[in-house]
Amino acid sequence: MTFAFCFFAVVSVVGAVCAMTLRNVVHCVLAAILFFFGIAGLFVTLHAEFIAAIQVLVYVGAVGVLLALAILLTRHITGTEGPKETMKKWSRGILTGGAVFFALAAAIWIEKGWLAKKTAVSTGSVRQLGEVMMEKFVLPLEVVAVLLTAAMVGAIVIAMEEFVKKK
């Protein structure tokens, strides 16, 4: 358990850092896929197996391919061309990220005693998840279905706009 957590934590942190700092855009997307796998592993250590499977399907499968396609469609095939960041921007980014991390970490540190008491763990099967989804969360489920349809139609309309104008 401890080893699995440490392993997947290192995988996801390395993946995230590489995805945000590498020069080549294609390498960034590959590092992000590593990060998504790490998060899926962390979900497994939390006994949320279904979420882990969905994580692999949606992020590694769909979002990863979508990002790779977006890079290809914007002609960054080699991935090395494109805008470069200055050192000033990097230092500002590290400052912002560090400030947010220390704010969050301070909040967790202050509530450390309260958090340490939470030792009981809950488990739930996919069957229970399905039952909750069909009973309690049935309205949000329908709303999300409408949202997904709207997003798909919107994405097609936005991406096709210029093409329609030319015709």
């Binding site: 401890t2 957590f5 934590a9 996801s12 942190v13 995230a16 850092v17 995805a19 945000m20 855009v25 992000a32 998060i39 962390l42 979900f43 006994h47 949320a48 279904f50 979420i51 969905i54 769909a62 990002l67 977006a70 890079i71 469609l73 002609r75 960054h76 494109g82 805008p83 960041e85 921007k89 500002r92 980014g93 912002t96 990220g97 560090g98 947010v100 991390f101 969050l104 970490a105 958090l115 340490a116 008491k117 939470k118 030792t119 009981a120 763990v121 809950s122 739930g124 229970q128 909750v132 009973e135 309690k136 999300v144 949202l147 997003a151 798909m152 994405a155 097609i156 936005i158 210029e162």
Partner: protein, 134 residues
Amino acid sequence: MESREGDSCPDKSRQECCVYERIGEREGELKMIGLEHYLILSALLFAIGLLGVVTRRNAVIVLLGVEIMFNAANLSLVGFWRFRPDALAMTGQMFTLFSITIAAAEAAVGLALVIAIYRHYKSVDVEEMTTLKG
């Protein structure tokens, strides 16, 4: 009336829908990874994602940073679900599922926007996108 699983769960602690394991009672035997470890990791990943969003100039990588922040938030949601058995049954996992759905929709629309902007400006540099009117 047949009691429905899920609805009446938080009132009665011993029901089929919430199986509790008590590891606190065996304190000292094993050093477990607790909720705070997951929260710290989640905060770190969120900060890394934010760093990328404010620093990188490629619009695709900015969207990637937003996805990393989404994942960090999902991790803390599942962590809270795991370590709070008195909470509503499966709520944390349901929140995460909806969050993943919305992140997927956001990625699709965001990347369509990036492609539309690229067609217009012939660039994906977010610092060049300074006009509201094309």
